[in-house]
């Protein structure tokens, strides 16, 4: 049975896109058919991680929302761009990075529900095992709709007071929407903090399972979104944590 997974955070800069790309790669490495949708229409970026150049983007999510193409026509097979040994397949539905198109969609808006109808269509059309929704930060109609149709929600936060406060609202909403599986991911944790203390604090604060506590990584910073971290650094502590997250999503 296909699973729709939303990856969300209350604030920006928590590592949603990197996490989404790595989840996709690790699932596909194990043989799954995965599609990633970049719904951060205001500031698209996950295509960079998959080395999908603007010139290769035949269609984007924007085109689908404007009725110019079907949702599956906006899906690009990026399996060959990932590297490593991938037994499955990864598709990416990117958001347009053309300034004019971003401006147009912000000015004119779009039918948020059409976006979510597209999610269901693409799962069927591409016979996906997983659809990963890379949401934009914060709570609004789009993110609530994504959560409402998701089988699993990964909420990412940093050990930062601003993140802690805002995440409480997101967790509350997720529980009201009865998300079947809610997993927290604490990212960019400095070495000065004990990971188990962080895990305990977050689990007690939100009453939700912490799938992994990922340490701050200079390797990740140096990679600077030029590729998929877990493929480049398969033995890193960060990759170990991401694998744990993926295993819990598979359950």
């Amino acid at each position: 049975m296909s699973k729709i997974v939303s990856i969300h955070s209350f604030r920006g800069g928590t590592g949603k896109s990197n996490t989404t790309a790595n989840i996709a790669a690790l699932l596909a490495a194990d043989g799954a058919r995965v599609c990633v949708v970049d719904t951060d229409i205001n500031s698209p970026g996950i295509h960079v991680l998959f080395n999908l150049d603007e010139t290769e983007m035949v269609h984007s999510l924007n085109d689908y929302l404007w009725g110019k193409c079907s949702i599956e026509e906006a899906a690009h097979d990026v399996t060959g761009h990932i590297g490593g040994e991938i037994k499955g397949q990864v598709f990416l539905i990117p958001s347009s990075i053309k300034a004019g198109e971003i401006a147009r969609i912000l000015r004119e808006g779009y039918d948020v529900g059409l976006l979510n109808d597209g999610f269901r269509d693409v799962v069927e059309k591409l016979e996906l095992d997983y659809l990963l929704i890379d949401t934009h930060p914060g709570l609004n109609e789009e993110t609530l709709l994504s959560i409402a149709i998701s089988n699993a929600l990964v909420i990412i936060l940093r050990p930062d007071q601003q993140d802690y406060q805002g995440t409480a609202v997101t967790v509350d909403v997720a529980k009201k929407l009865d998300v079947p599986k809610l997993l927290m991911l604490v990212n960019k944790v400095p070495n000065s903090l004990d990971p188990e203390d962080v895990r305990t604090r977050v689990e007690q604060t939100y009453g939700a399972t912490v799938a992994a506590v990922l340490p701050h990584s200079d390797e990740m910073m140096s990679l600077a979104s030029s590729g998929i971290f877990s493929i480049r650094f398969p033995d890193s502590a960060v990759t170990k944590g991401l694998r744990s997250l993926v295993d819990q999503l598979k359950d």
């Binding site: 979510n116 109808d117 709570l139 609530l144 079947p180």
Partner: protein, 110 residues
């Protein structure tokens, strides 16, 4: 008790004059909220499944479903037959104009 819960659910839906979106579900009381969360996530479901989740009678559940069809959260599926009505949860707004999502989302969370 069940009759009281049904009347509450009915009133909550009848009071809505605009389309109901999946995110509006957080505003409803139980058992309506959980039942709607469940069927929206399913995508396609039967009246029987909806009634089981609500724990209301079939007629009561049909009454609520009819309002939800009128409010564009449900659509009657082409798979419906004489014995069973199937619905699909609707996420796109056929009756709402193409426009930027409103910024009133915070009212729903308060």
């Amino acid at each position: 008790m069940s009759e009281l819960l049904f009347q509450t659910a009915l009133k909550e839906l009848e009071e809505r004059k605009e389309d109901i979106r999946p995110s509006d579900v957080v505003l409803f009381s139980e058992p309506l909220r959980s039942a709607l969360n469940f069927v929206i996530r399913l995508g396609r479901f039967s009246l029987t499944e909806f009634a089981e989740k609500l724990e209301f009678t079939r007629d009561q559940s049909k009454q609520l479903a009819d309002i939800l069809v009128a409010r564009n959260l449900f659509a009657v599926s082409r798979f419906s037959n004489a014995e069973e009505t199937f619905y699909e949860s609707r996420l796109s707004a056929m009756t709402r104009p193409l426009s930027r999502p409103p910024s009133d989302i915070w009212k729903k969370i308060d």
